[in-house]
């Protein structure tokens, strides 16, 4: 193929970029992640360029090493900066300003006031919901300044610029690994760093590589798992969008470590932007001789393909993922044989998560010791979480392993909000962590350090890192049902416990929510959950009962209320919530009286009516028929 392309000189590229960057007077970084783009970031960028030009300033959308013009205003893009809720985000460097919720209509003022005159525009600054103060930039915002960003650090760079990535130390680690280390050394270094897989299981990455290295075969593969199916998690997306070269570099190093010469990045189809960025990064790397043959002049070849998924959560499971790459239904296969021995097309294959691979270059570059200095002894390093749900600040965060839930929810997240979006300082009910395979944490666990093992001990798991905060207006039975519905939709349907068991579990949860359950339902639900857990073929089924088991364990009373008292304490289950007629709204039209099949409604014509709660079977018919919205 492109075996004639020589690998570019990293030092020269760095120097060239540095020279170009020196000419930049002001860098404006517009977040161009999925969230901010959805909120109109690209239009803002265009408007900004026009406005700056009109103001007679020297605007550049791309940096080129041959620019001898100074005083450049460089408008670059970045991947998701994690604070999508406040997007579109606009950073101004070196002034250290962060403007939030920027609209095209704000652009003239930004140019005139800030970029020309150096004044702050107060209303575009982030307003701290707790202190009520405006914050100038990241350093002042608790959402950012309490994080520890390693993997996400480079998310501020221009994702389409390989030169900037190199300038920031990129591809040096790959060069070291490929030209100056043995495969064994690379594995050992990763093992020493204690890197554990971020795809959920936490398996030691160095160990996985060693096993694959030991599988004799002249063909091996590296697969990057970018399927990120957990509904409510998006850290892999942001790494692929914002820093795609770190994933490629991680794969190169993995290739060297196990003796693989070909790789696949499998990206879920719901992430079109991630697919695009990864594809263009692969092309750029190939053009720079960082993919192809004889990389860095060494006897090492590596080629890389990008494949889009087609909408199946289960394809995140290793064997299903491989089946999908091979063009088949994504149905998991029993292990052994493990992919490390018999993977893609029957060849030894390493499968690693996006974040895992993106963590690799820094370990090679800066050493295992440095990596271990953060986090806990058994879970070194940092972890990204997608913080969502009922907290003031939602978004993507990165913290060292061992950080407490309290820190995340109250400080980074800015506290729990109620259904109207207000921080009240109370009302925290639970955090669901690890998505459909995870479990619930309770207020009692607020001070537990988050790491692989302590979470496992309380029946939850790091999983993909989704952290959903829930206030006390949330019904836990419904949350369990939500995840059950998810796993039921996403089960591949291959094995009996998962296919039939989740179907019955979902139906039993529905019975509970609909007030049709009895004591036997609870018992059978629990027994079924246990059977599904031990009996299922793959991780999806094995972990699918976790949300149910964990809510049943920690919120048993809430289940019992539903079952025995036919009452939903959070008031979310309509079938269990007695309906009331709001006297002020009722016009006495009697429509409801006529529809009620059990004659629970009474009242005089043109007078407010009443529902007899003892007779009412909560069918909701009256509510739909009332034209005056008087029934709630």
């Amino acid at each position: 193929m492109n075996n004639k392309i020589e690998t570019i000189d990293l030092e020269k590229t760095s120097a060239g970029y540095a020279a170009a960057a020196a000419a930049v007077k002001c860098r404006i970084i517009l977040c161009a992640g999925t969230g901010c783009v959805a909120n109109g970031a690209l239009a803002v960028r265009e408007a900004l360029a026009k406005e700056l030009e009109a103001a007679g300033l020297n605007v550049k959308l791309e940096l080129s090493a041959h620019d001898d013009n100074h005083d450049i205003h460089y408008i670059s893009r970045s991947g998701c900066q994690g604070f999508c809720q406040m997007g579109p985000l606009l950073h101004i460097e070196p002034a250290g300003i962060l403007y939030t919720r920027v609209k095209v209509s704000d652009v003239p003022e930004i140019v005139a006031a800030t970029l020309v005159n150096g004044e702050l525009i107060e209303r575009l600054l982030y307003l701290d919901p707790v202190t009520g103060k405006r914050c100038k930039g990241d350093e002042e915002i608790s959402f950012y300044n309490r994080q520890h960003r390693v993997v996400l650090k480079n998310c501020m760079i221009e994702p389409d610029s390989i030169a900037e990535y190199i300038h920031r130390g990129g591809y040096y680690a790959a060069r070291t690994a490929i030209s100056a280390m043995t495969s064994q050394d690379v594995c050992q270094k990763i093992l020493d760093a204690g890197l554990r897989g971020r795809g959920g299981g936490g398996f030691p990455t160095g160990r996985k590589w060693q096993i694959t290295l030991a599988s004799e075969n002249n063909k091996k593969y590296i697969v990057c798992n970018g399927d990120e199916g957990d509904p409510g998690a998006f850290m892999d997306r942001s790494v692929m969008e914002g820093n795609p070269h770190s994933v490629i570099e991680g794969m190169l190093i993995a290739g060297k470590a196990v003796g693989a010469d070909e790789g696949y990045v499998y990206v879920r189809a719901e992430y079109p932007l991630a697919v695009k960025r990864i594809r263009s990064a692969v092309n750029a790397a190939a053009a720079a001789g960082l993919l192809g043959n004889n990389l860095f002049g060494a006897e090492f070849n590596f080629k890389l393909h990008v494949m889009e998924g087609a909408g199946a959560f289960v394809c995140g499971e290793e064997t299903a993922l491989l089946a999908s790459i091979e063009g088949k239904r994504g149905m998991p296969m029993p292990k052994p044989p493990y992919p490390a021995v018999k993977g893609l097309w029957g060849k030894p294959t390493v499968i690693n998560n996006v974040e895992t691979l993106a963590s690799v270059p820094a370990i090679i570059r800066e050493g295992a010791e440095k990596y271990r200095s953060i986090g806990t002894p058994d879970s070194p390093g940092t972890k990204t979480f997608a913080l969502t749900g009922h907290v003031a600040n939602t978004g993507l965060i990165e913290v060292p392993f061992g950080t407490t839930l309290r820190e995340i929810v109250n400080n980074i997240g800015g506290g729990v909000i109620d259904n109207d979006g207000k921080v009240t300082g109370e009302g925290f009910k639970s955090v669901q962590i690890g998505g459909p395979s995870g479990g619930c944490l309770t207020p009692a666990m607020l001070d537990m350090p988050l790491d692989f093992d302590s979470l496992k001990n309380v029946g939850a798991m790091v999983g993909s890192g989704g952290l959903v905060v829930m206030n006390n207006q949330t019904c836990m039975v419904r949350i369990a049902r939500f995840f059950m519905q998810f796993t039921q939709n996403e089960s591949c349907g291959k094995c009996v416990p998962c296919r039939e068991g989740t179907r019955q579990m979902l139906a039993m949860l529905d019975d509970i929510i609909d007030g049709k359950a009895d004591a036997q339902t609870l018992e059978l639900l629990e027994q079924t959950a246990r059977a599904v857990k031990i009996g299922s073929l793959c991780g999806l089924g094995k972990t699918a009962p976790n949300p149910v088991l964990s809510t049943m364990h920690y919120f048993r009373k809430e289940y019992e209320e539903h079952v025995f008292n036919k009452c939903c304490p959070a008031g979310e289950c309509t079938a269990l919530t007695p309906l009331k007629i709001i006297a002020e709204k009722c016009k006495g039209c009697t429509a409801c009286v006529r529809i009620c099949s059990v004659n629970a409604i009474s009242g005089e014509k043109k007078q407010p009516h009443k529902i007899d709660a003892d007779i009412c079977i909560k069918c909701g018919a009256c509510k739909t028929v009332c034209k005056f919205k008087a029934i709630a």
Partner: protein, 579 residues
């Protein structure tokens, strides 16, 4: 090879590791039965039913079918947890199952029913949560009841891996997952070749051969009808199993007797027709060999194979022998001869075949096999159906006194009998061809080289100074490979026998269900024993066949009438999915 003995511990007992591929085989070898739905020693490992779970110390619960034995493993097959899990598993399956055991065809040979009983599943605590679906009766050979399917995938794998077809596969996912033909079409409308191997591996009644017992009873009770039966070679060595005899035991005499008791008027032997097949087919081969045209020649007595060729290799159709299968030869001759002989109107003679096969049900209803509107064969019963009919009559089969076939179509040679096993047609033909080409009677009739149970066997024989290369395959995927090699010039055979079922008709879909290779071998042995016990071994020596030619088929093999009656043509069916 390590010489040191290696052991695992199963329920406290040491078991030596041999050549077993997985724990399941090892544990079963130790005499402990583990329930399974989705394990088949001849198919790929699938791991879906989760019944074969065992507990390994230090590793937890694993599926034994997909775990290789390792020395030192301490295994328990019966922990409380596993017991509970298995029961729940069955309960879950039964909750949405079309539970109608008393009237289900698979009752008493159904793995689901059997395991449920063995595990002591009592109360089904789950509610039925799905709507029942339509039963697919479109195929002339098979009936598919999706409401009894447990999605073990055995059928999918056998169709893909053994037959190389893939007519049915998984579709949709999760709770909607199902096993269906493409586009949820009916089985009768897709590329299924009716071999029935899917039904043979199906652990439940989700796939069963079509049942024609009632129609046959109707004919029997109809005073106007003369009902005649033909019994295929492979039936006689398997039917006994239905009544507790050892596999391979030849029960043809008892069967004749039973059929007579049931009200059949005449009972004949398909082996007679098989002998006639050889007269035609071997002669055809000699001609092709001498003219060097359309070689290799393929046998054509397996209708599943014929349909396979029609769909996938239309260009090879000229290579198929034009000779009808023994079933259809019998039918054609019976239709031609019996009205005169029995003094009955053709439409009042009901021809019933008793076959080991589901594809024969398909073959019998093909429009080309009719004479003046009457099908040559009216109904095809499987071995199992006949067993069931015998039972329903209250006949004590074990105690019956054997009775002889009716003449003239009850007279056969050993060559006709061995049609029932893979390699048999070839051997019968070789017995004919070698003698004809040599021009003198031969002593050694047993072509052992073509026997055995390898899925592909080859031999080169010297016949009258001429080299003749032959091959035998069973399983259509093996046929496909062979054809591809032949087409690529990698091999050059003159004569190829193809049978769809593993080991030939002895393992047809109409036989009593077995998953054991050993049973198949015993049936095959039974076939060759029957051959030895026959008075004559070569089809060419069957004087009743010769007489039949003289009296009814224009005089001799190869003449116009004989050709017209005993041969057929093929249809290109490659366009099955082109709309």
């Amino acid at each position: 090879m390590e010489t040191e003995n290696k052991f695992v511990t199963v329920n406290g007992i040491e078991v030596k590791i041999g050549s077993e591929r997985n724990l399941l085989e090892l544990i079963r070898k130790a005499g402990i039965e583990i329930p399974t739905f989705c394990y088949h020693s001849e198919l790929s490992i699938y791991g879906a039913c989760r019944l074969c779970l065992v507990d390994i110390e230090g590793r937890g619960v694993v599926a034994s079918c997909s775990t290789p034995p390792e020395p030192g493993m301490v295994i328990r097959t019966d922990t409380r947890e596993i017991r509970e899990m298995r029961k729940i598993n069955i309960e879950l399956l039964l909750a949405n199952h079309n539970r109608e055991c008393p009237s289900c065809v698979r009752s008493s040979s159904c793995a689901l029913q059997d395991i449920a009983r063995r595990l002591g599943v009592g109360d089904i605590r789950y509610k039925q949560r799905i709507k029942m679906q339509k039963i697919d009766k479109s195929s002339p050979s098979l009936e598919r009841d999706p409401n009894k399917c447990i999605l073990c995938g055995d059928c999918v794998r056998v169709c893909k891996e053994v037959q190389g077809i893939g007519a049915i596969d998984f579709a949709f996912r999760g709770a909607d997952a199902c096993v269906v033909p493409a586009f949820k079409r009916d089985l009768g409308d897709v590329e299924c070749v009716n071999c029935g191997q899917c039904a043979a591996v199906c652990p439940t009644g989700a796939l069963i051969p079509r049942q024609h017992q009632d129609k046959v009873w109707d004919a029997i009770y109809d005073p106007d009808k003369i009902v005649v039966a033909q019994i295929a070679p492979a039936v006689r060595v398997a039917l006994g199993e239905y009544f507790g005899f050892k596999p391979g035991e030849n029960v043809s005499g008892k069967l004749v007797k039973a059929l007579k008791m049931m009200g059949f008027d005449y009972v004949y032997d398909t082996c007679f027709a098989a002998d006639m097949t050889i007269w035609e087919e071997a002669a055809e081969f000699i001609k092709r060999l001498e003219n060097q045209t359309d070689l290799p020649m393929f046998t054509s007595c397996c209708p599943a194979w014929v349909k396979y060729a029609e769909i996938y290799f239309p260009e090879m159709l000229p290579h198929l022998s034009t000779c009808r299968s023994p079933q259809q030869i019998f039918g054609a001759v019976a239709r031609k001869v019996l009205p005169g002989q029995l003094g009955a109107k053709p439409q009042n003679i009901t021809v019933v075949s008793i076959m080991p096969c589901s594809a024969k049900k398909y073959e019998a209803q093909l429009p080309k096999f009719t004479q003046e509107g009457n099908p040559d064969v009216d109904y095809v019963l499987t071995t199992v159906e006949v067993g069931r009919m015998i039972n329903s009559m209250g006949i004590k089969f074990e105690e019956l006194e054997p009775e002889a076939f009716d003449m003239p179509f009850g007279f056969a040679t050993g060559a006709g009998v061995i049609f029932g096993a893979s390699g048999g047609v070839m051997e019968a033909a070789l017995r004919y061809v070698s003698e004809k080409l040599n021009g003198a009677p031969m002593n050694n009739l047993n072509f052992k080289a073509v026997r055995g149970n390898a899925t592909r066997r080859e031999a080169t024989l010297t016949v009258a100074g001429r080299q003749v290369s032959v091959a035998i395959v069973h399983g259509l995927e093996n046929a496909r490979k062979l054809i591809m090699e032949q087409k690529a010039g990698k091999c050059k055979f003159d004569f190829i026998e193809v049978m769809a079922c593993p080991g030939g008709c002895i393992a047809g879909a109409g036989q009593p269900i077995t998953h054991s290779k050993k049973v198949r071998e015993q049936r095959t042995t039974g076939i060759y024993n029957a051959d030895k016990s026959m008075q004559l071994q070569k089809s060419q020596d069957n004087y009743m066949v010769e007489q039949c030619y003289q009296q009814h088929l224009g005089g001799c093999s190869g003449c116009e009438t004989a050709h017209h009656t005993l041969h057929t043509g093929y249809t290109d069916r490659s366009g099955i999915f082109k709309t």
